[in-house]
């Protein structure tokens, strides 16, 4: 058991892992279905991100709490039941908050169940860590996911309709770039963001390489 329970301390890294280093969308490329499908407006992206975060945190907590009692053979089935429970709950809650939002998100709320990021976190993190640490990590992952969805949704809504969160920014003479709110726009904007993030990563690595190179030279 001691091997399974890795470092029990909650560090900044257990939160920030999902934000940047292992961002579920930009680095791990997980959960692409909602990423591409619902990011045609910033509001949808935010709602989807928050809903996914709730499911991540709640299922992470429960999986971590129950992991000792769950036989290995049925763990995936159990995780799916737990995840589906929270997805159904958030489905009702969104309906209660706003019907318009519910209609614009459509079937993608129910499809959070099959978001591989959530199952992946339950299997790879929550079942091996303490409940509080899993919650902190799930919060970070959820924040990273929401951030990524907002990056896509914001750009697509801005270019596709000239508005952000429904507020018109450019006035009536703006000619909307309609393809951006259509499915192909999702791929285009995602590709652009991935390019940017990869370029940033490579530049950082090269810098580190140059620093370590200098140090070895100095020595």
């Amino acid at each position: 058991m001691s091997q399974r329970r890795s470092d029990p301390h909650i560090t900044w890294d257990s939160f920030s892992e999902g934000l940047w280093r292992n961002n579920p969308v930009f680095v791990m490329l997980l959960g692409m279905c909602p990423v591409l499908a619902v990011t045609n407006s910033a509001m949808n992206a935010l709602a989807m991100g928050l809903a996914t975060t709730f499911v991540l945190v709640a299922s992470g907590y429960l999986v971590s709490l129950l992991s000792r009692f769950i036989p290995r053979q049925v763990r995936i089935a159990t995780y799916i039941v737990i995840i589906a429970t929270f997805v159904t709950i958030i489905d009702y809650v969104i309906q209660a908050i706003s019907l318009d939002l519910y209609n614009s998100l459509g079937a993608f709320i129910q499809l959070i169940v099959v978001n591989c990021m959530i199952l992946g976190r339950a299997e790879a993190y929550a079942s091996k860590n303490r409940p509080m640490k899993s919650v902190v990590n799930a919060l970070g992952m959820g924040a990273g996911f929401t951030f990524a969805l907002l990056c896509l949704g914001g750009v697509r809504e801005l270019l596709g309709t000239g508005a952000l969160f429904g507020f018109d920014l450019f006035g009536p003479q703006f000619q909307p770039w309609v393809v951006m709110v259509l499915p192909p726009g999702g791929f285009l904007v995602l590709g652009a963001w991935l390019l940017l993030f990869d370029w940033l990563k490579q530049r950082r690595e090269q810098k580190q390489l140059a620093i370590s190179g200098e140090q070895t030279n100095a020595v």
């Binding site: 053979q73 089935a77 709950i89 209660a96 209609n103 309709t161």
Partner: protein, 229 residues
């Protein structure tokens, strides 16, 4: 994980423990789902009622209160008494006078079914407004049917008068090419959103042809129902 620990964790017959764990988790999750469903059901129903109410105010101009009826085999029933039948909404002004009725219509659009609500004014025998309830039309093209002011102006007074035999509309509601509307029963299409606009016309025509001839003889009932309470 060592084998000793594994044996400690898993009881003698693992299939029993699997069943126990799975069924207890399923029970807990069932309990949670039912709890949340019960808690949110009244709020969701209230939201849906408000959404319909908002749509009704839009399609029946001047209406303040509304009542739902069900049309079943040529008879009107209050919505509470029956589950089957087609919903018809009656809109009344502040004095309780009937100012219009509304009904649902649907037709296949470009992406999916377009569901809409339309308001009929018995005084001018015309359709006074439409409101799209649900659609999945292409943003920027097909969704002009809810945004385009010129298109929506078609429904300020769209003629839908019923003929003498009360069998059908005098003039079927038809869609014409953009800019060639000549008669009050024609709908000016949107260029670039022809399929979506045509679907709206088709939905209105189908529903009005079927519903209005049935409904007009029953108009008295709609008024009397309101004055009783």
């Amino acid at each position: 994980m060592s084998t000793a620990e594994q044996q400690l964790q898993v009881p003698q017959s693992p299939s029993i423990s699997m069943m126990v764990v799975l069924s207890s988790i399923a029970m807990v999750s069932g309990f949670l789902v039912v709890l949340v469903s019960q808690l949110t059901a009244p709020i969701i129903a209230e939201n849906q009622r408000r959404a319909i109410e908002r749509a009704l105010v839009q399609v029946i101009p001047g209406s303040v209160s509304h009542e739902e009826f069900l049309l079943q085999d040529g008879k009107l029933l209050p919505a509470e008494d029956s589950a089957a039948g087609e919903s018809v909404y009656a809109g009344y002004d502040a004095n309780g006078e009937l100012v219009g009725i509304a009904a649902r219509a649907a037709a296949q659009g470009y992406a999916d079914m377009i569901h809409l609500l339309y308001g009929y004014d018995p005084a001018c025998e015309c359709i006074r407004g439409i409101k799209v309830l649900k659609m999945a039309e292409t943003p920027g093209l097909g969704d002009k049917i809810i945004k385009d002011a010129d298109f929506l102006a078609n429904f300020d007074a769209l003629d839908a008068s019923v003929d003498m035999q009360q069998m059908a509309l005098v003039n079927p509601i038809i869609m014409v090419k953009h800019g060639s509307k000549q008669h009050p029963w024609e709908i000016d299409a949107i260029s670039g959103a022809t399929i979506s606009a045509k679907a709206v016309g088709k939905a209105l025509n189908q529903s009005a042809q079927a519903l209005l001839p049935q409904l007009l003889p029953l108009m008295q009932q709609l008024e009397r129902q309101e004055q009783q309470p």
